[in-house]
Symmetry: C2
């Protein structure tokens, strides 16, 4: 198995493009490959959450996925490769869960308010996964890391868009580009904060209380 990670060499013309994923040197049934990779990722996510990337062995991953190390290395080029797959999978799931629940109807302000609620709820559901990203992203090779960060920026952009809409339809007070950008990052990070400050927040607030307080804080500032 050749590595799946984005090849550092050829800069693709369209800027943020998915790296070439498949190397057809060994032809395999694509369906099976996808299935096995999903097994590997599912197993690895749980192990990484429990013990971290570095303390998880390839043997453990293989066993948890339901086959032997040999087979693991039929579908993956290296241990680092699994980490890349895991990070990608987490971001993808995050985005899907958001997209399927986001409502874009109403004023910009209303849509933003709803989006914050949805986002915080998804953060709560996936808090272990978000933590994993925060802790292990830097273990990725540089090039792969850039793709993970790009994903992160896509999520932030959702909020920036809604803020822009709110400004445009006058449901939010006027903001320049910089203020919008910063606010979008603030919202994203405040969602993540619920996961990486759980130890301090969860004893004092329920998710609903936390969401309500933060949302009124954010919107109070913008209207």
């Amino acid at each position: 198995m050749k590595p799946l990670q984005p090849s550092p060499a050829p800069a693709p013309e369209t800027e943020t493009q998915e790296p070439a994923r498949d190397i057809p040197t060994e032809v395999k049934d694509a369906g099976l490959v996808a299935k096995r990779r999903r097994q590997i990722v599912d197993a690895a996510v749980q192990l990484f959450i429990q013990k971290g990337f570095h303390k998880t062995t390839t043997r453990e991953m293989a066993k948890a996925a339901g086959f032997s190390i040999g087979t693991l290395y039929e579908y993956v080029a290296s241990k680092e490769d699994v980490l890349y797959l895991v990070c990608q999978a987490i971001h993808l799931e995050m985005e899907q869960r958001l997209k399927e629940r986001l409502k874009f109807a109403g004023t910009g302000a209303a849509a933003l308010s709803a989006a914050i609620e949805v986002f915080f709820e998804v953060c709560d559901q996936m808090s272990d996964h978000i933590l994993l990203i925060y802790q292990e992203t830097k273990s990725l090779p540089k090039e792969s890391m850039r793709f993970v960060l790009a994903h992160e920026e896509r999520i932030t952009a959702i909020f920036a868009d809604l803020l822009g809409r709110g400004v445009a339809d006058y449901s939010l007070k006027p903001l320049d580009r910089a203020q919008i950008e910063l606010m979008a990052h603030n919202i994203a990070v405040l969602g993540h904060m619920w996961t990486f400050r759980r130890w301090a927040l969860a004893p004092r607030f329920t998710l609903e209380q936390y969401t309500e307080l933060q949302r009124s804080l954010i919107l109070g500032e913008l209207t």
Copy 2:
């Protein structure tokens, strides 16, 4: 060398107390011990920042500190122990830098505003160190992790105190305990955000711009 980490067994009566640090089985010059440990920590911090805890070897640490592995293990019980020392040292330095620059004069609101500026500046100076804490804290044994998190809460408490003062002297609008606590965490995290979202923020904002925007956002909400 016995481990330096907080012993899990005896819960000290005074709640958040420094764990017993010294085991006098082998008597050594305390001054030398402190000096060597400082060498070890200084070397380790740089290495951990560069390559992370797991990818740094004990041999590298010893060499960077200026002596051999044998000597390293005269002053430290294990590799994990070094990580604990490093985390402690970072928090200590953080607290010192804050304390020596914080001004408590004026209204609560004014003091808070100044504190935010100082805090953000310290975060900027120590961004690599803060990142290190975010990424490696979970590699600590459970008990040691609690002490690191307690440190974190002490810093948050600084902001909570100032917020409380501002409410008391009417320089801030009325807030209940929960709102104060939450706001304190927000401030702390927004400072950290400057370090762990550098990749997105630094290209668009200088530290001064970032501080100014966030500070007016925070204080705007509170007055």
